[in-house]
Subunit: 203 residues, 2 copies
């Protein structure tokens, strides 16, 4: 990772209000300054290196407008814009099965704001579920260091509640009820594969 | 994906292009004719809209160096560079199964240059195969309008032949022998899902 401006981060920070953003300066995470994204990348690396799963974060979608071709090998992008992603950020394969998820965090303590998701991301998740893929979100409560995995079908319910005029967030209690608390460790950092195994077993 | 030109015609224009161009990360925003990438995007759209499969091209990986934050909503990327992709360009789900492929084209007529692929892409494909994903490449011979699907395990053989000092390309005859000729149509444009079904059935 050599990005000086870590990808989604800045963009999302721009678009969201202060209590729902991907990073936080005041929070001591397992490593200082580590974001959920970084922890997931390290987790995915661990899965990859140990042949447990092949899951990658997609590159940040960028609309390229102007490129300087000084030479064949050194094209410099001089003007580009962040695009809204049309899918989720993470996908890959575990034992032949398609895995697809989005990861978000909040500084709220009692609920998770649904504005963290875009409607076309929800649409994408629905398509994935319809196609029998394993679809979920990873939700982190930054202040309490709690990370949950919530299968998409539950997210859809909360999303529907919002679009029919209900609350704009999921209560933490609801996440606890329908989701799984993820174990946090060192190797792997966020072991969501354990829950995927459970989901496959139960499904 | 917006189309300025109707379908088949632009293929013919493509023939003027240079030897082996890389469709996937090439600068298709310049909008010079239909590329294999565009045809695949339209095909994937068709699959998506008809609930046949959920397959997307990943965004081009870009290393962002400098961003201008003029205002909250308008971040302009002022300096960025193309990064070599560490995975293949396309992936998604068909009936729960993980699908993963790379698409390339050549203006050669009798063989397909292996330089179209990077070693880490081959490594990625090996990881996907190991994880029981469905992994292949789509190879287009631009001059003759022939598009083939070749499962990765065959590509690995040709890759190994090259790295042990053998030829640096796959003969078209070999692609015909081990791969599948893809039907070209309008809806969908390149119906590779038909072959995936066969592969699943035979596998």
């Amino acid at each position: 990772m050599e990005l000086r401006y870590p990808n989604g981060k800045k963009y999302i920070l721009d678009k969201k209000d202060k209590n729902t953003r991907k990073t936080s300066n005041s929070i001591s995470y397992s490593n200082r300054g580590m974001t959920l994204e970084e922890d997931l990348n390290i987790t995915n690396q661990y899965y990859l290196q140990n042949d447990l799963a092949v899951i990658h974060k997609k590159p940040t979608p960028v609309q390229i407008v102007h490129v300087d071709y000084k030479s064949r090998s050194t094209a410099v992008i001089k003007e580009a814009y962040f695009k809204q992603p049309s899918t989720t950020d993470y996908n890959g394969v575990y034992k032949g099965k398609y895995i697809d998820f989005e990861a978000k965090e909040t500084n709220n303590t009692t609920s998770f704001p649904l504005q963290n998701f875009h409607e076309h991301q929800i649409d994408h998740m629905k398509k994935v579920v319809q196609q029998n893929g394993i679809s979920f979100v990873i939700l982190r409560f930054a202040k309490t260091e709690e990370i949950f995995l919530l299968e998409s079908q539950y997210l859809f319910n909360f999303w529907n509640r919002m679009t029919s005029g209900g609350r704009k967030s999921i209560k933490k209690e609801e996440i606890k009820q329908f989701g799984y608390l993820l174990p946090i460790g060192l190797h792997p950092r966020i072991d969501y594969l354990q829950i995927i195994k459970k989901i496959i077993k139960n499904g």
